[in-house]
Symmetry: C2
Subunit: 383 residues, 2 copies
């Protein structure tokens, strides 16, 4: 851990709880900004711990250890929403600056609390209920009809903790309380990413389309193709409203269902740099990672303007090849414009181990090139 | 130091001798590429040591310590050319892969050797001599006439180790041997940056103009304005030829005098990411730092294409304000497109402590905005 006395005068110090790929990519931006970056990791081999000079290894449930770490930084931010609420509250009560605040993060970590809050704001959503028992669940099912979506109120991500419920037999298998939602008929999924600072400055990135397969995002198209300007503005205004009402500091990602003729419906919220914003690293004037740091440090935010007409991001999901670098030899030779972002993670089936970005003007061409590269790296194709 | 067994299968490991800002910016690219990055630093507070997870502190003259470090990596590269030749030769003889090679780096570290070699290649240069004594120096002065440029054959950088010699009295003050060069009348200075891999793949970036003040580069204009295409090709071919003949692996920067009507004359060579290529971080498809890593790892090189019509880079030179971050509050609020790259270095007068990039299409506008920001950060203006 570098002592403050060894840093240039005025160097801001940011600490991150969790050391996954989001912290790793924040670290790249922090280096450029001259911000000293510290991570509280679970293990030395965590994604961000592999690259960060100032890593503390510990458990996020150990509030005393987290507090000791937090005392060395100017502000604490998060790599994920699974940081125990008790730890965040302890930090806040101890006078540590935490962004997003414990009060705001609740609405990303607890999906029932999120639905309740969005209802108060009048945000359009699928029909939902937090069922405390089978009786309430059954009543909701009779009103709405099957299939339903069941969500674990806390702890889920990337499709984990989310189930499609086809009938009463499946309803019977659930553990309560559970969040039940109408399975919305939608044409596609959109996401809008906003960054907000304590000064109340906010920047909104262009609305993107997130292409999903089996509940996992495979590609992000920026901007969302064929989206009417009025729809884009509707999405951006909704995100601005939610960010302001929830007093979010840093990145807020709002995942939306595009129902075509009906309104845009809020699916999920995330309060950290988000997969739907990874395209900004190579396709926007300021990346979401840089703007997240600028926000939590209350620096003026950077321009979210696109630097090319189209950017396509493709997630690299673990396949049959344990060695991604070998595959890169082929992919980089084939496509000299491919921008690679690997996370230093061991390959496991369907695990997000990296992503690729391509910028240009021909969406179909960019999508094909991205698909080729991610399929090759996973071993689904071999040439 | 992370053990190889804790890294994902196939992870390449790069070690850098020296831990200045070039190593720091390589580290940012290494993180994205999933490359494990290690630095051999002089101190824990070196620019790259502040951000790198795997830092070893030691002296570059301590060949045994450097060898121990080198055994943990796949390839060694350099942050600067001042690594002792004896250390590089020891590594090479011990079977360590070093790129650029000790044989090539000699022509960047020793300016007399560089001149000798370029003469053999027939590269256009100012008239020069390596004077072993005052007698030889005086003879050269009589042939060429004053003023002359005197250069310490080794160890100089950023205008240090370079003197203008006005008359015989000043000639008398020199320590021999010394490299003497004709003081060329030139219209401007250009630079061309090439990256070459062991596979013999090479990419050349657009020729840039380097704006100098008191022997220090203050701005870089990419591409060099009003440069005839034939001149640009002349410069790029010269760089390609030099890189191939010197068998350079990694970045080679060739600094040139543009004499207007006469040929382009080679001023200096550098074999590492170079200040004249910092614009590529925000203005090119692949930055020089990423391509340097790709070259030394023998990965296919990335496209050097510009992502905007014009990029201007401005060096932040230390001024009266010790706290750069305070100044950034103003600069970032004034210009949301400014890309900041700070090095984590304590401010000292005229020390390069960071740089700024701006991309766009209006050169004069970009130059004005860059000038404003660097002047503000140094304290030469206060609004």
């Amino acid at each position: 851990m570098h002592a403050r006395s060894n840093l240039p005068t005025g160097t801001p110090v940011v600490g991150v709880l969790g050391a996954g790929q989001l912290a790793r990519m924040m670290a790249e931006s922090a280096s450029a900004l001259g911000v000293q970056f510290r991570v509280f990791a679970q293990s030395e081999s965590d994604s961000a711990a592999l690259v960060c000079a100032d890593t503390t290894v510990g458990e996020l449930t150990d509030a005393a250890a987290v507090f000791k770490f937090a005392q060395t930084v100017d502000v604490i931010t998060l790599d994920h929403e699974l940081v125990p609420a008790a730890t965040l509250e302890f930090l806040t009560q101890s006078g540590i600056k935490v962004y997003p605040t414990a009060a705001a993060i609740k609405f990303a970590a607890d999906k029932s609390a999120m639905r309740e809050k969005l209802k108060m704001l009048g945000a359009p959503m699928p029909n939902w209920v937090t069922a405390q028992n089978l009786n309430q669940a059954n009543q909701f099912a009779q009103e709405i009809g099957y299939p339903l979506i069941a969500k674990s109120p806390t702890g889920g991500y990337d499709g984990r903790g989310v189930w499609v419920i086809a009938d009463i037999a499946e309803l019977n298998t659930l553990t309560f309380p559970v969040l039940l939602e109408q399975k919305v008929k939608f044409e596609r999924e959109l996401a809008v990413l906003i960054v907000r600072s304590p000064h109340n400055q906010a920047v909104v990135y262009p609305v993107v389309e997130t292409v999903q397969q089996d509940g996992i995002c495979t590609q992000v198209l920026a901007p969302a193709p064929n989206l009417a300007e009025s729809r884009a503005i509707e999405a951006q205004q909704l995100a601005l409203q939610i960010a302001a009402e929830l007093d979010v500091i840093g990145v807020l990602a709002v995942e939306l269902f595009d129902t075509g003729s009906g309104p845009l419906l809020v699916n999920e919220l995330a309060m950290r740099p988000h997969n739907s914003g990874h395209w900004t690293q190579d396709g926007a004037s300021t990346s979401q990672f840089e703007n997240h740091l600028r926000a939590v440090l209350d620096l003026p935010l950077g321009s979210p303007t696109m630097t090319a007409p189209v950017t396509v991001m493709g997630n690299i999901l673990g396949g049959i090849h344990p060695d991604l670098h070998r595959g890169l030899l082929h992919c980089l030779a084939r496509d000299s414009e491919l921008k690679v972002h690997l996370y230093g993670k061991t390959v496991k089936p369907n695990r997000k181990v990296g992503h690729l970005n391509l910028t240009g003007s021909d969406l179909a061409d960019l999508q094909n090139r991205i698909s080729h590269a991610v399929d090759f790296l996973a071993g689904r194709i071999d040439e």
